[in-house]
C-alpha cells in the first residue's frame, strides 16, 4: 500500500478516469499549468482538447460543462467554492433542475471539484465551506472526502455517476499523507468508493462524533485525547452528504447514546444541523444527552490569524463538546 498525498490522489483519480473513458475531460482556470497541483501532467498525456483552460467566466464554462454532459461527455470542472457563487445560476437553474424539469430526459454526468481553501489567511472571499447550501437544493450529489484514499475513490465514483456531483475538497488536507491501496491489492481491481456509505473511522462506546471533511481528523485527535481520560469515542465519516448514510449514524448513537457533530461549515443550517435533526427525529430515544454541534461561528472569515483560528471546529472544541454530553 502506497503513502499518497491528498493532492496526488486527486491527480491519480482524474488521470485514471480519463484513460478509462475518452468522454471524460477536465476544464478550469489555470489547470494546464496545474496551479493548484491536482491537474499536473494531464495536458501532456491527454492533449489540449481534453484539458481545457477556461476564461474567468464561471457561469459560462459551468454551463458549457453541463451542456456537454447532456450530449454524452463526462466533464470534470475544477473550481474553488468561492467562485461557485459566480456560476450559481448554472449550478442551480440548470445542473440541479434539468433532469426533473424535463421529466427524466436529461442525464448530467458532470463533476464539479470545488476546493475549500479555509484556515490559511485567505479571508472572506476565498474561504467558503458552502456544501450546506447545496444540500438544500435537490438534484446535486455532495461528496466530502477526509483522506487521500477516499478522495481518490469518491472522485472516481463521481466521474462514473450519471448525476451532477460536487466534490468539496478540503484545502486543509491537500498536504495530508495517507495510505491509498494499490489496485492490484483490491478484490475489484480498482479503488471506487460508493456514495452513501459512511465509514466508521474509529469504534467507541461512550459518544459518537460525526465529522465532515477536514473535521474528521480533528475528531480523531479529540478521540485520542478523550481515550486518555477513559472516554471511548466512535468517529464516523459520512463521506457523502447527498446521499447521506443515516443508518450508520443512528446505529452508532443507539450504541453510545451521545452525539457530537463537527462541521467546518457555518453553524446555521449546516450539515451538522441536518444530521442533528435526523437523529432528533429518528434516534431521540437513544439519546442520553443533548446533541452538540461544533460548527463554524456565524461570522465571515477574518483575515488575521488571531481571529480566523477562533472560527472553525478544532480538536479542543470537539473534545469539550464530548465532555458536555457526558455531564448529564
Amino acid at each position: 500500500m502506497a503513502q499518497t498525498v491528498f493532492i496526488e490522489a486527486i491527480n491519480q483519480a482524474i488521470a485514471e478516469e480519463m484513460r478509462r473513458d475518452e468522454n471524460v475531460y477536465i476544464m478550469g482556470e489555470d489547470i494546464r499549468r496545474a496551479v493548484y497541483g491536482a491537474t499536473a501532467d494531464l495536458l501532456g498525456e491527454f492533449g489540449d482538447k481534453r484539458v481545457l483552460d477556461t476564461p474567468l467566466s464561471e457561469n459560462g464554462f459551468f454551463g458549457a460543462a453541463i451542456g456537454s454532459s447532456l450530449v454524452g461527455m463526462r466533464p470534470i470542472v475544477e473550481t474553488l467554492t468561492s467562485f461557485m457563487w459566480v456560476g450559481m445560476d448554472q449550478l442551480i437553474s440548470q445542473a440541479a433542475k434539468m433532469r426533473y424539469m424535463f421529466g427524466g430526459q436529461a442525464t448530467l454526468p458532470v463533476v464539479f471539484r470545488a476546493t475549500m481553501f479555509y484556515g490559511g489567511g485567505s479571508a472572506a472571499h476565498h474561504s467558503d465551506r458552502s456544501y450546506p447550501m447545496f444540500m438544500n437544493m435537490p438534484g446535486i450529489k455532495i461528496v466530502v472526502p477526509s483522506n487521500p484514499a477516499d478522495m481518490k475513490g469518491l472522485l472516481k465514483a463521481a466521474v462514473r455517476d450519471d448525476d451532477p456531483v460536487i466534490i468539496f475538497e478540503d484545502g486543509t488536507l491537500f498536504g495530508m499523507r495517507g495510505e491509498v491501496p494499490d489496485d492490484a491489492d483490491l478484490p475489484q481491481g480498482e479503488l471506487v468508493v460508493p456514495f452513501g456509505e459512511a465509514k466508521i473511522v474509529r469504534e467507541g462506546t461512550d459518544c459518537t462524533i460525526v465529522g465532515i471533511a477536514g473535521a474528521v481528523n480533528h475528531a480523531v485527535v479529540a478521540a485520542n485525547t478523550l481515550a486518555a481520560e477513559g472516554v471511548s469515542v466512535e468517529v464516523i465519516d459520512p463521506r457523502t452528504l447527498v446521499p447521506f448514510d443515516k443508518q450508520t449514524v443512528l446505529d452508532s448513537v443507539e450504541k453510545t447514546g451521545r452525539l457530537v457533530i463537527a462541521d467546518p461549515a457555518h453553524k446555521v443550517c449546516s450539515a451538522a444541523s441536518e444530521i442533528a435533526s435526523i437523529v432528533a427525529e429518528e434516534g431521540f430515544w437513544s439519546l442520553q444527552a443533548p446533541i452538540q454541534k461544533v460548527a463554524s461561528e456565524q461570522v465571515h472569515i477574518p483575515y488575521t490569524p488571531a481571529l480566523e483560528k477562533l472560527v472553525y471546529p478544532t480538536a479542543d472544541k470537539i473534545a469539550a463538546a464530548v465532555r458536555r454530553t457526558l455531564e448529564s
Partner: protein
C-alpha cells in the same frame, strides 16, 4: 440561395402549426383549462422556423420562456407539447416542466429555460462536445433582446469564440423585455453589433421573413460545420400578444402604441412566406389555406389528446430526480 421546395412547404406548415397552437393555447388558457404562465410566440414564427429549417435532427437547440415555437419549429410533437401545458403524463416532461420547459431529447431539443440567458451556456456545451469529439453537429441558442444583456450570453459568446465552437447565437429581438423597450436597455444600435466584441460575424436579419432567416442560419451552420466558429444572428421581429397569458389582467402602463402593433402586423410572417411561395409558383393560395386548415385540425387533435391524458399519480413526485437513484431523505 436555392431552397428545396419541400423545405419551404415544411416551413409554412410549421409556422401555421405554431400560430394555430398558440391561438388554441390562448383560448383554452382563457377558459381556465390550465393555469400558469404561457408566453405566446405569435408574430415571431419566422425566426424559429427559418432557423430550425437550416438544422438537422442531430443538431441541438436550447431556448427560453417563450417556448412553444422553438420545439415545434425543430419538428417537435404538438400533442406532447399541449399535454405538457395541461400538466399530464403524456406531456413532453410528464407534466413536470410545463409551458416554459418543453424539451425533446430525441430530436436535439435540450430544453427551454425560464431563467433568461441561462440556456445559452448549456447550448455552448453541446457545441463544445462536437469540438472535443470531432463530430460535425452544431448547436443553436435562442434568446431575446432582453437576455442579450445577461452576462451568461456574453460569457458564452466569448467562450464559443476562443474555443472556435460550432455555435449559433440567435437573438429574437421582439423589441420588448416584458414592457421595457430594447432602446432603453441595449447600449448598441443592434444586438448583432455585439458580435464584433467577440470576433465573430453578426448578421442582422428581417425576422418576419422566414426565407431570410433560413438563409442567414444556413450560412452560420455552414461556417460552424466547416470549423470556422460561431455566428451571432439577430432576427428583428415583434410580439403581437402581451408578454404572458394571465398578465393581461394585471394593470400596467402603456408601453407600446396601437399604431406600432398595426405596423408590425402588416408585415405578418405567414403572409410574407405565403406570398413568396405563391409568387414563385411553389404553392397556390388554396394549398396554403389547406396547410393552415390541416394544422388547425392537428392542434385540435393535440388538444383532445392533452385533455384525455391523465394527471400523474402521486408516486411520480419522487421520480426523475436522479439517473442513479438515491433514497429520499
Amino acid at each position: 440561395m436555392d431552397i428545396d421546395q419541400d423545405t419551404l412547404l415544411l416551413m409554412l406548415r410549421r409556422m401555421w402549426m405554431i400560430r394555430n397552437f398558440e391561438l388554441k393555447v390562448m383560448e383554452v388558457h382563457e377558459a381556465g383549462e390550465f393555469t400558469g404562465a404561457a408566453h405566446p410566440y405569435i408574430g415571431e414564427e419566422a425566426v424559429a422556423v427559418g432557423a430550425c429549417a437550416a438544422l438537422e435532427d442531430t443538431d441541438y437547440i436550447a431556448g427560453n420562456h417563450r417556448s412553444h415555437g422553438h420545439p415545434i419549429a425543430k419538428g417537435g410533437r404538438v400533442d406532447k407539447a399541449m399535454a405538457e401545458l395541461y400538466g399530464r403524463v403524456d406531456g413532453y416532461c410528464k407534466g413536470k416542466g410545463g409551458s416554459m420547459h418543453l424539451a425533446d431529447y430525441s430530436i436535439g431539443i435540450l430544453g427551454e429555460s425560464g431563467i433568461l440567458g441561462s440556456s445559452v451556456p448549456v447550448a455552448v456545451g453541446a457545441a463544445l462536445a462536437a469540438h472535443i469529439r470531432g463530430e460535425n453537429f452544431v448547436s443553436l441558442a435562442f434568446f431575446g433582446d432582453g437576455a442579450s444583456n445577461q452576462g451568461a450570453l456574453h460569457e458564452s459568446m466569448n467562450l464559443a469564440s476562443v474555443w472556435n465552437l460550432p455555435m449559433i447565437f440567435l437573438c429574437e429581438n421582439n423589441q420588448y423585455a416584458v414592457t421595457t423597450s430594447y432602446a432603453e436597455t441595449v447600449a448598441v444600435e443592434h444586438v448583432s453589433d455585439r458580435a464584433s466584441a467577440y470576433n465573430m460575424p453578426g448578421l442582422l436579419v428581417d425576422g418576419q421573413d422566414a426565407i431570410a432567416m433560413y438563409e442567414a442560419t444556413s450560412e452560420a451552420v455552414n461556417r460552424a460545420r466547416a470549423g470556422e466558429g460561431p455566428t451571432l444572428i439577430e432576427g428583428l421581429t415583434y410580439r403581437y400578444e402581451e408578454h404572458s397569458l394571465g398578465l393581461g389582467r394585471v394593470r400596467r402602463g402603456e408601453y407600446r402604441t396601437q399604431e406600432e402593433i398595426d405596423s408590425w402586423r402588416k408585415r405578418d410572417p405567414l403572409d410574407i412566406l405565403e406570398k413568396a411561395l405563391i409568387s414563385q409558383g411553389i404553392a397556390t393560395r388554396e394549398e396554403c389555406d389547406a396547410i393552415n386548415a390541416e394544422t388547425v385540425e392537428e392542434v385540435e387533435k393535440a388538444t383532445d389528446f392533452a385533455r384525455n391524458s391523465p394527471f400523474p399519480e402521486p408516486e411520480a413526485l419522487f421520480e426523475d430526480m436522479w439517473a442513479n437513484p438515491i433514497p429520499q431523505p
